[in-house]
Amino acid sequence: MRPFSYERVATPAEAASAAARTQGAKFIAGGTNLLDLMKLEIEAPTHLIDVNGIGLDRIEPTPEGGLRIGALVRNTDLAADKRVRKDYALLSRALLAGASGQLRNKATTAGNLLQRTRCPYFYDTNQPCNKRKPGSGCAAIGGYSRQLGVIGTSEACIATYPGDMAVALRALDATVETVKPDGSTRAIPIADFHRLPGDTPHIDTVLEPGELITAATLPAPVGGTHVYHKVRDRASYAFALVSVGAIVQRDGSGRVALGGIAPKPWRVEAAEAALPRGAKAVAEGLLAGAKPTGDNAFKLTLVERTLGAVLAQTRG
């Protein structure tokens, strides 16, 4: 870990302007991912801006009938919120499928969106990694890639986005609200928030330097049956091999987002039209153009079969 300076801020605006003042600054909230990465010098911010004191820790109804989730709402609180459990059960279930109780107590909504890949080569600073060190190459390609991406990847990077919460947010059509250092705000559809790697895999999201997430907003509830099925080798406390978040209506229509297979939560709206025809048809649409490795080609079958399990459960 490299030495860094540290400050606490009291408002979102202060946070954004503090970030603008200092080159190489990062925000810290729960720190459940950032601190680990700093200890390994995968992240080496010169300055940390602690945003835990800026509020943004409420879940409030929106005029449109949805919910606005403050950036600092902890995963535990979000998963337990009555409104979330009733109308956005997918989100609650996805959160509870992630990490451990202790981590969820610390982890925040914004921080969870920004957690970095768990590619083992990203974590080993002896190895080339374009995400960690642009231009150094990718050791994962041709290496051990069982956990890694099968679609949306590039010749520079096959890492996955590891989280669960964002998969649910993607299916729920959430919006990410931010404030920039100049004080302007914007609302980014979750679909556009995480980037595909292309030849710049070191940039995970569309956030600009110093831009701070203030909330994630959910549109009005869409009803339906909510299922989150996370597949992994052990029963808890592991990242997904594949996860399927689905909302299925009585008429068989619905939405599906996938985790564990791509650099971002993976959803192909066009594929959802095939939902009444079953898992195989949907999976074909979701995975068109997939480029798995020898180690992770099983994920294609696994997506289809997990989707089958989810659809059986919603019929159930």
């Binding site: 870990m1 083992p120 290496g143 080798d233 029963a235 990242f239």
Partner: protein, 734 residues
């Protein structure tokens, strides 16, 4: 005390304290955070070391430049092979603990940075600049198999005519199995604090084998053994990973010398998987031939494993020499040279991976014969060493373990046809396997004191790695001296105490308590003599000593001063005349998700026959821990190799998955009533390794019974079953 004839009746047989379920006396300290582990010992003015691991698996350091690290804040010393002085490899090490300029494996320690704080040492370590010249290495066991050579550790066994008998057998199987490299993954990493007083070195270190460790520290540093003191009273798990001196201890000693003050070194978690030892992967070919009635006529087990030059085999065939009858036998083990990190002992070395393969093969053979797998095992049981029929087992209750387990587990409800039982989307299956682990006995010493206050103090360099050594030693001394448990103080893990068996190979409990028994026999004689009693008929009970109608408080014997005695147990040739082993029947029920292939254990049962159980509570704890470890071996544990760069890629606890609570729903352990007077005066054996032996195969067999998909390549993960799973759901979708 020599132990060369079977034990007769002795004071342990009273079973007033021994044999009773007893809380661990160190439990309170551990649960209240007051048991200091190696890194936590108070060491005033200690500095902190941070280890730099090699970035390549094989080759040379072209240049090493401490550069900016030297002037970094707080830095006190930087050690490399260039500056460390002459080091000699320890007797128990295969690779050097401080590498350079030659690099023998990935993450081999190449530098230690010592600083005022841990954070400063860590920050400075990142500034050490090292250029490597990468060399060519061998990292793939499959590819190296053809070049593998016989090993001195396992001669080829040829009994009868295997080839002819196998060729003639009406029913045969011939299958090859793979077990992966596995990590001990204990909670406490390798950790040490070193302090020098003149030329005297004290090391607080996490080590299972104090005397081996003391010798290898002295040898590595080139100092006399009597100048080294090892202290290791509490150990946060070892599983064989802490049998040997590792880089933390040597680098702490060197760092403390260089810094002129105590130095603490704990191996960083990401180094734990490549810097230290691991259980090597195996390839195993098993051939079994039998009559149509199920009598084995030919059994062949050939195993291949790899290690660094000078290393040894993973002896996956040793249980096959003893477990089943059969007149024609072929047993071989071959060793390939690999440049992966050092392979070495991990909980039940040999038998654990050996039974992972053999006990699937037995299941496959039973199915081919159309027999129940328990019946097949019973039919081929042997009460003698199959290679030397004149040599009986001292005790062998394998059949009883299997039968008792079958009854308890509800084995009769198992469907012999695979993939026949469903619970919603889950496919349900049951599996069984035999558990087998040899009982090793090793010389072990202890010192016992009787204080004027009537307390018994036991001192031995035996270790407690979470196993319950403190408690069974206290129980032994209490039983022998006729005092309640709370009158006994046990002091362990210090090289200034008599040399014990140490903790390894499940020999610790039986050997170390036998050493305490021997010392207590001597103390009883000394006490009787002091009290003027005839030691032969003195009875020690209730804090008193009685002889005829005379009685005296035990403490009176020490009224004139503490009585101190020391003795060792030394084992004669009973182990040669009798085969001593421990046995288990392992039963597992699993549910396999019909769509995804996720395998989840529903319940586990172990029925164990392992001599006298000294403390049923801590023994049970040992067995369920071992069953948990085997569940990991069966379903998730694998050190994933990057075959280009030669290292274990998943080198942290996020990547190397071990079971969590949610994976282990229900475990039951039954100990058969057994005493084995041939084993020791305690008539006990070990259970800490028996509990892992065979369990993984029982899981794999249960997964087969659930799905009809046979996986011979551990771990049994869903990707190996997915394409072959029976159709899920009543509609036959997906």
């Amino acid at each position: 005390m020599k132990f060369d004839t079977p034990a007769g009746t002795n004071p342990i047989d009273q079973l007033k304290v021994v044999g009773r379920p007893t809380d661990r006396i160190d439990g309170r300290f551990k649960t209240t955070g007051t048991a200091p582990y190696a890194y936590e010992n108070p060491a005033p003015n200690a500095a902190y070391g941070y280890v730099v691991g090699a970035a390549i698996a094989k080759g040379r350091i072209a240049s090493i430049d401490p550069g900016a690290a030297k002037g970094a804040p707080g830095v006190l010393a930087i050690l490399t092979a260039d500056t460390a002085g002459k080091l000699t490899k320890g007797d128990f090490n295969t690779a050097n603990l401080l590498g350079g300029p030659e690099i023998e494996h990935y993450h081999q320690a190449v530098a230690l940075v010592v600083a005022e704080s841990f954070e400063q040492a860590r920050a400075a370590a990142a500034l050490v600049r090292i250029d490597y010249a990468r060399g060519k290495g061998a990292f793939d066991l499959h590819a190296a198999k053809e070049s593998a050579q016989p090993s001195k550790d396992q001669k080829d066994i040829k009994v009868g005519d295997f080839a002819a008998a196998f060729a003639a057998a009406p029913v045969t199987i011939d299958a090859t199995y793979h077990t992966p490299d596995q990590a001990h993954a204990m909670m406490e990493p390798h950790a040490s604090i070193a302090a020098w007083e003149g030329d005297q070195l004290t090391l607080w270190t996490a080590n299972q084998m104090i005397n081996w460790g003391r010798g290898d520290v002295a040898r590595t540093l080139g100092i006399p053994k009597d100048k080294v003191r090892l202290i290791s009273p509490y150990i946060g798990g070892g599983f064989g990973g802490k049998l040997f001196v590792r880089a933390d201890a040597i680098l702490a000693a060197l760092g403390a010398k260089a810094a002129g003050r105590p130095v603490k070194v704990a191996l960083q978690r990401p180094l734990m998987f490549n810097n230290t030892t691991h259980r090597p992967a195996t390839l195993q070919r098993i051939r079994i031939g039998a009559t149509r009635e199920g009598k084995i006529t030919a059994i062949g087990h050939e195993s291949w494993s790899g290690d660094l030059p000078g290393g040894g085999i993973e002896n996956a065939v040793q249980q096959t020499r003893l477990l089943y009858a059969g007149p024609n036998r072929l047993i071989t083990a071959r060793l390939a040279t690999l440049d992966l990190p050092e392979g070495n002992a991990m909980r039940a070395p040999g038998e654990a991976p050996g039974l992972m393969a053999l006990e699937i093969a037995i299941d496959e053979m039973a199915e081919k014969l159309g027999m129940d797998p328990i019946q097949f095992r019973i039919l081929n049981d042997t009460q003698v060493d199959p290679e030397k029929p004149e040599r009986p087992f001292s005790q062998r209750q394998l059949i009883e373990c299997l039968q008792r387990g079958a009854e308890r587990f509800g084995w009769s409800r198992r469907s012999a046809t695979p993939a026949a039982v469903r619970d919603g989307v889950w496919l349900i299956g049951m599996g069984v396997a035999a558990g087998f682990r040899n009982n090793l006995v090793t010389k072990s010493g202890a010192r016992v004191r009787l204080s004027p206050a009537g307390r018994i103090i036991v001192e031995t360099d035996m270790t407690d790695i979470g196993t319950g050594s403190y408690t069974i030693i206290a129980q032994t001394a209490a039983e022998m001296m006729g005092v309640p448990l709370d009158r006994v103080d046990v002091k362990l893990g210090d090289s200034s105490f008599p040399v014990s068996a140490g903790s390894g190979g499940q020999w610790g409990a039986n050997s170390a308590t036998s050493g305490v028994y021997a010392a207590c026999v001597k103390l009883r004689e000394a006490v009787a003599q002091k009290l003027g009693f005839n030691s032969a008929d003195a009875v020690f009970t209730g804090g008193k000593v009685r002889s005829g109608n005379r009685s005296a408080p035990l403490a009176r014997a020490a009224a004139g001063g503490e009585i101190v005695v020391e003795d060792s147990i030394e084992f004669g040739d009973l182990a040669k005349r009798y085969q001593q082993s421990t046995f288990a029947g392992h039963f597992v029920e699993v549910a396999v998700h019909g769509y995804t292939g996720e395998t989840r254990i529903r319940r586990m049962l172990a029925v164990c026959a392992a001599g006298r159980i000294l403390n049923p509570k801590s023994a049970r704890s040992q067995v369920i821990g071992a069953m948990t470890m085997a569940a990991g071996a069966a379903l998730m544990e694998e050190l994933a190799i990057d075959k280009r760069f030669g290292f274990f890629v998943n080198h942290d606890l996020a990547g190397y998955e071990v079971p969590v609570h949610a994976d282990i729903p229900h475990q039951e352990v039954i100990f058969l009533d057994e005493v084995d007077p041939i084993s020791s005066p305690m008539k006990a054996k070990g259970v800490g390794e028996l509990g892992i032996c065979g369990v993984a195969a029982a899981v794999a067999n249960a997964a087969y019974n659930a799905t009809g998909v046979r996986v011979r390549d551990y771990p049994v993960t869903l990707d190996k079953m997915l394409d072959r799973l029976p159709t899920a759901g009543p509609q036959g979708s997906p």
